[in-house]
């Protein structure tokens, strides 16, 4: 393709330089050529060059005539557009020297015409040519104000995995964030130690303050994961239990792992959940949710209970939860918590309607019964009688309540 472009440019330039003689012709023929010396305004030039670019396309799409090598010399007389195209095709396989077409101005005008034609394929082709024939500094400088061409070059360099040049480009242009590009490289590093060290090197990159702390956390986490992994694998060799690998896992997954296997450790160890909470400044809610899920998975109901307990100033304990109790019930239920555990938490749901729905869903009969009693809803209680087991304690309780003359039912 490069060869064909060179020929085309050369021929083109030859024709353009003789423009003065063919003024009449160019104005009347269908083929409107591109004149570099034109004083027309930008837009009409671009429009014309669009058509020029189309002929580039025609030229390189119909390349079946590659075999025909003919020496064709052009005597400078006007040619019709059809002949012109044929001529260009013939020139396809002829090697012509480049001395006529080398100026930066010509190259840029060509690039701009291609951009105006909105064909990414052609834009990239021209960029490949420019990349080969211009120094990096000149290329980058000229592309900086040319957003579309720049995007194409970046995409091309990404696809050819030319990381080095891409980084140079990003560093050179002020509006792009090369630090993210650099950071991205960590994904290609398989070995955990190397990846950790690479992340460390990313810390010095000029991220925004916010992103800086994220990258810092990433590094700290990776460092810690490596330590925990090594320690745990070593310890595991005695046991048969296969634990999930936490390398490259997100922070919360790591926390969950530590809540599963290192829950009771003191705050001094790397794998202690409390230590992780402190190091990464994990919110109370987040910690609560993760610990809840982990302990529920292990069916450690007393640990679950302990998460809620808090003392008020009078020394009484009440259950406090950063998460709505219906959500808590949801999580417990997903971990197959037994009814007697579930009902403790269903009972704590504030909203009566919601409480009843949940209680019914999880068959916490006592709660349903008590709630209907509290709401003084006779009808509902009667209706619920049919849902409990015949002859059960619940049925008896319902009957007792229904027969209780002291309750002022509302219906």
């Amino acid at each position: 393709m490069t060869v064909s472009f060179q020929i085309f440019f050369t021929l083109f330039v030859q024709m353009m330089k003789s423009k003065a003689d063919e003024e009449d012709y160019w104005n009347s023929s269908k083929f409107k050529a591109f004149t570099f010396d034109d004083e027309d305004d930008e837009f009409s030039t671009l429009k014309e060059s669009k058509r020029t670019v189309n002929s580039i396309r025609c030229l390189v799409e119909e390349d079946d005539d590659k075999e025909e090598v003919e020496k064709v010399s052009w005597n400078g007389e006007p040619v019709s557009s059809k002949t012109l195209l044929w001529l260009l095709k013939q020139m396809f396989s002829i090697v012509v020297s480049l001395e006529k077409f080398r100026s930066l101005q010509d190259k840029l005008l060509l690039l701009d015409s291609c951009v105006a034609a909105h064909d990414g394929n052609v834009i990239t082709a021209v960029l490949i040519y420019l990349k080969r024939t211009l120094s990096k500094e000149v290329l980058f400088r000229e592309l900086e104000p040319r957003q579309t061409a720049l995007s194409h070059l970046i995409h091309y360099l990404t696809e050819t995995r030319d990381q080095r040049l891409l980084l140079e480009l990003y560093t050179c242009l002020t509006c792009f964030c090369f630090q993210l590009l650099q950071y991205k490289e960590h994904l290609s590093i398989a070995d955990e130690n190397k990846r950790r060290d690479f992340l460390k090197s990313c810390l010095s990159l000029p991220f925004s303050p916010e992103d800086s702390s994220h990258v810092q956390d990433h590094y700290t986490l990776m460092e810690r994961q490596v330590i925990i992994e090594t320690t745990d694998r070593r310890a595991e060799r005695g046991e048969k239990v296969e634990r999930a690998l936490i390398l490259n896992m997100p922070l919360i997954t790591t926390l969950s792992y530590c809540c599963l296997y290192h829950y009771s450790e003191s705050e001094g160890t790397f794998s202690s959940p409390l230590n992780i909470r402190q190091t990464f400044k994990i919110s109370e809610k987040q910690f609560f949710v993760t610990a809840l899920g982990a302990r529920a998975k292990l069916k450690a109901w007393s640990d679950v209970d302990a998460l809620f307990t808090s003392r008020n100033w009078l020394g009484f304990t009440r259950k406090k939860s950063p998460l709505g109790f219906q959500r808590v019930v949801d999580i417990l239920q997903k971990n197959s918590a037994p009814t007697q555990v579930l009902q403790d938490y269903v009972a704590l749901v504030d909203d009566a309607e919601l409480r009843i729905t949940l209680a019914q869903k999880h068959k916490c009969h006592d709660i349903v019964i008590n709630t209907y009693r509290d709401l003084k809803d006779r009808q509902q209680l009667l209706g619920y009688r049919g849902k409990v087991e015949r002859g059960s304690g619940e049925e008896r309780k319902i009957d007792e309540l229904l027969n209780n003359l002291q309750i002022r039912w509302k219906n």
């Binding site: 393709m1 490069t2 669009k50 189309n54 025609c58 390189v60 951009v115 909105h118 064909d119 990414g120 394929n121 052609v122 834009i123 990239t124 082709a125 490949i128 104000p145 040319r146 957003q147 579309t148 995007s151 194409h152 970046i154 995409h155 091309y156 990404t158 696809e159 050819t160 995995r161 509006c175 792009f176 964030c177 993210l180 950071y183 991205k184 960590h186 994904l187 290609s188 916010e210 992103d211 994220h214 990258v215 956390d217 990433h218 986490l221 490259n248 896992m249 997100p250 922070l251 919360i252 997954t253 990464f280 994990i282 809610k285 987040q286 949710v289 899920g293 998460l323 959500r327 999580i331």
Partner: protein
Amino acid sequence: MAHSARRDCPELPDFSLLKRLARDRLIYLLEQLPGKKDLFIEADLMSSLDRIANVSTLKQHEVDKLYKVEYRPVVSTSDQLCFLIRPRIQTVKWIYVANADKAVGRLRKYHIIFTPQKFFACEAVLEEQGIFGDVTTDEWSFYLLPLDDDVISLELPEFFRDNFLAGDQRWVRTAGSALHLLHTLYGPFSKVYGIGRFSKMAYESWREQVEEGEQRARQAEIGTVFLIDRDVDYVTPLCSQVVYEGLVDDIFRIKCGCVEFGTEVTSDKSLKVMLNSQDKVFNEIRNEHFSNVFGLLSQKARNLQTAYDKRRGMDIKQMKTFVSDELKGLKQEHRLLSLHISASESIMKKKTQQDFQELLKTEHSLLEGFEIRESICFLEEHIIRQVNMMESLRLLCLLSITENGLLPKDYRSLKAHFLQSYGAEHLLTFSNLRQLGLLVEQPAGETLTVMESRVGKLVNDKTAGKLTGAFSSLAKKSNFRALSRKLNLVPKSDEEYDLRVPRDMAYIFSGAYVPLSCKLVEQVLERDGWTGLEEVTKLLNGQEFAVTADSSTKSDAQRIVIVVFLGGCTFSEISALRFLGREKGYKFIVVTTAITNSSRLIESLLGNIKGSD
């Protein structure tokens, strides 16, 4: 279907011609390579190829063995290797790696067929590796695959990422060529409307191709075209789908009109099923709101039972007729019915598990603009609980677009939670989403006017080259609320909305929201242009156009409208357009660069995949 079409609806043209053309072209290309050859096909192309030419056709043209392109050393004993691939640099690089033959001294013929077209960059790679002469190349100009009677796909999912994220216009001409093909075979088009940067470019590319080619006078079967960029309406693809076909796509992922139902549906072994109008059962429920589906299926089951029961009173002769004429059809219907009932049950189960109701409630709040803080709380909890990464991202984007960006404190907090729950490497994902304007921070209050005026000037500046990447997303403010008000996208919620007999396109989202893209189509067709929609187009950042050809005669063909989605289209939008067509007497043909949904859209923007651009 629950609703009948207007009697004056025109007929759809026959698109099987597109398949025949593609097949003939491929056969021609294969015949250029005489002798036995092994064919390597890119995974993405296999399903498309399957619809065009099956294995026996290929074998008829001396294709010996078929392999999938996998980035592994080639194991083949054939002397001729043929590769059918998309023009990607990495694939071409793999091919010459496989060409290690040269070093070994073995001479094999290598032939690459690029589809739908060759790119210079790929040939440059061949040249760089010094094998440009050893490898022959060709183009299989297979642009359009009919997925159904009224849906045609370019099967180019990469269009979205390449154009919108990377800013690479490589597929613009492809889109133009696809249009040109349709224009040549089914046109000439007399009216073209469009909105969006790439729509404009594709239109111009098409016009150039029309001028380059020969004009043949023919009776137009399709008269109108509407082009729309995906980024004109990001809200619709981010919403959960609740029409049957959309749900099946969201849950089971339909590929090339085909879906694989696993054992949770079939209870036996997994089954690959074609989903199109040929499946009579599917055709009746595909556009229905899911709440309707069970009802319709039960009704069908009852009808089926009645039909079976007919045979009770039959004599031998009648029975024979019954068996030869009807039984097969009934059995087929029975099979399909069971399949869709099982699929529906599976969908129900999955959605109940996922707290779908709560999710939809949050979505609807965001669309309506109510209880935003509650939605943000829900979203925060969703992220904290590590429920589902894609779902979290989707909701984050929906929140950002509907609210014109997140408050800085919310943005920071939700981003931090997200990175903690799903991995710090999603810094890259957030960067991509910010670039597209899908997930952004509201700029700080005082600087807004300065920024706005500066950016506003840049947007109006015709030489778009002056816009740098950092500004381009700011330039495209979302303006969803304003658009929603002007176009009445969120119907009043006080009246009862009957999903069985819908009164407008909002039914596809349970009455909560009329898809913006489809609403634009409706309005422009009604007004025959953009007059009266100036405020709307301003909110959409302009780039609208309308062109009418000289022929002023109103023909039936003008009521057959091609809607071209550049960047992808969802099944929900297709259902909405079908509804619109029945209402107003149009027949819509959806041409899309690919079928999309929220998962595919977000997946294409994830930044944590190594080696992706």
